[in-house]
């Protein structure tokens, strides 16, 4: 049998801080899988990695920032989006990605989520939704479906859950898609598409939390959940977002739900100032006023 020199490299490896591997995510957790799709999207879109910045919040998904070899910012709980807004406004040449979890983005970060979507700030938001607050031990999140068992609803949840695609579409997002960690190639393609858009893009990825959500709800391990996603997902491109809510055991609508065009925040800002101030408007500060 012929032997090969193994100098091949995992296509995702150049995007990782290899000195920090192995990571802290549990066996069967889907977050690492989403990172593969993200890396694939970066390769396919030929994004310049030196002008890419990644901002995350707190939680299991928030740890992505520490594992990718990019200018990356692990910020405070719920505040990745406003931090990313500041980054983008100060340096419009940056491609800014927000990579965070469902609790971080829709609970404590909910206000910032809707305002950034309203303003159509040019951010690519990847929301890994494991339907739970995982890092802190499995508490109910705004996305936890009804009748699930969590540590803060030990007798079962009863609150209606957010339908995140519906929420962000209503708030103003220009690109809204949902996939699961089973849909590795479709997710990569959606992320690539988001990079081509100007404005607030939101990609939700349903992901297993085998240690907490799946275990407490007797749904098996990560692999069982991946098979479950394969079985329960239904691709429904352009479905009305009001109809894509998730339930404990029901269908998971996936696909690209919204893809529209609206001027992004910076275009609108520029247009307004040009109209009001004409030639007096100066968009960029002097390059030397910070560093000399």
């Amino acid at each position: 049998m012929l032997n090969v020199i193994d100098d091949t490299v995992n296509p995702v490896e150049p995007f990782l801080r290899s000195d920090r591997m192995p990571h802290i995510w549990c066996p069967g957790c889907g977050i690492g899988t989403t990172v593969n799709s993200f890396a694939r999207a970066l390769i396919d879109s030929k994004i310049d990695l030196e002008s890419l910045a990644l901002v995350s919040g707190i939680g299991c998904t928030g740890r992505v920032a520490g594992y990718v070899k990019l200018d990356s910012f692990h910020t405070t709980h719920g505040r990745a989006i406003p931090f990313a807004t500041g980054l983008k406004l100060a340096n419009p040449k940056l491609n800014v990605v927000v990579y965070s979890g469902d609790g971080d983005l829709s609970a404590i970060g909910g206000n910032h989520l809707i305002h950034a979507a309203r303003r159509n700030i040019d951010l690519k938001v990847i929301c890994v939704n494991n339907l739970i607050y995982a890092m802190t031990g499995g508490q109910t999140a705004p996305t936890t479906p009804g009748h699930a068992t969590t540590s803060t609803n030990p007798y079962g949840t009863f609150e209606p859950a957010f339908n995140l695609p519906h929420l962000v579409e209503a708030a103003g997002a220009v690109y809204v898609a949902r996939w699961t960690t089973f849909h590795v190639r479709q997710l990569a393609r959606s992320i690539s598409e988001a990079f081509q858009k100007k404005g607030f893009s939101f990609i939700e990825v349903i992901s297993p939390c085998p240690t907490l959500y799946q275990r407490r709800n007797k749904m098996g391990d990560g692999l069982d959940t991946m098979k479950y996603y394969k079985e329960k997902s239904k691709v429904k491109h352009a479905a009305p977002t009001s109809e894509v809510g998730l339930t404990l055991n029901g269908e998971i609508a996936v696909g690209k739900f919204v893809d529209r065009d609206r001027p992004d925040y910076q275009s609108m800002m520029r247009a307004q100032y040009v109209e009001s101030l004409g030639e007096r408007y100066i968009e960029e500060p002097e390059a030397e006023c910070v560093c000399g």
Partner: protein, 83 residues
């Protein structure tokens, strides 16, 4: 010769089973060996069926496995195999 080859980073594996399940040509199975954390990493049972599609790599949450197409490999006598 197979159209592709799988490389496995044994020490990163947490035996989630995604690669075994989702390989389209069933190249892999969990081995009975252990890595230092006590997990059973996968091993290649049907190398001739590997197409180098890298779906295993796309699914692996631990960046512990990847596929490469044969055209991209160098060939030599000597030890290769798993890392």
């Amino acid at each position: 010769m197979a159209k592709g080859r799988v490389s496995i980073v044994v020490e990163r594996c947490k035996a989630c089973g995604f690669c075994v399940e989702f390989c389209p040509t069933h190249v892999l199975a969990l081995s009975s060996a252990f890595n230092s954390k006590g997990y059973h990493p996968p091993h290649v049972v049907h190398p001739e069926k590997c197409s180098g599609c890298d779906l295993c790599g796309m699914y692996c949450p631990d960046f512990a496995i990847y596929g490469t197409k044969a055209g991209e490999l160098k060939v030599n006598k000597g030890t290769g195999g798993e890392k």
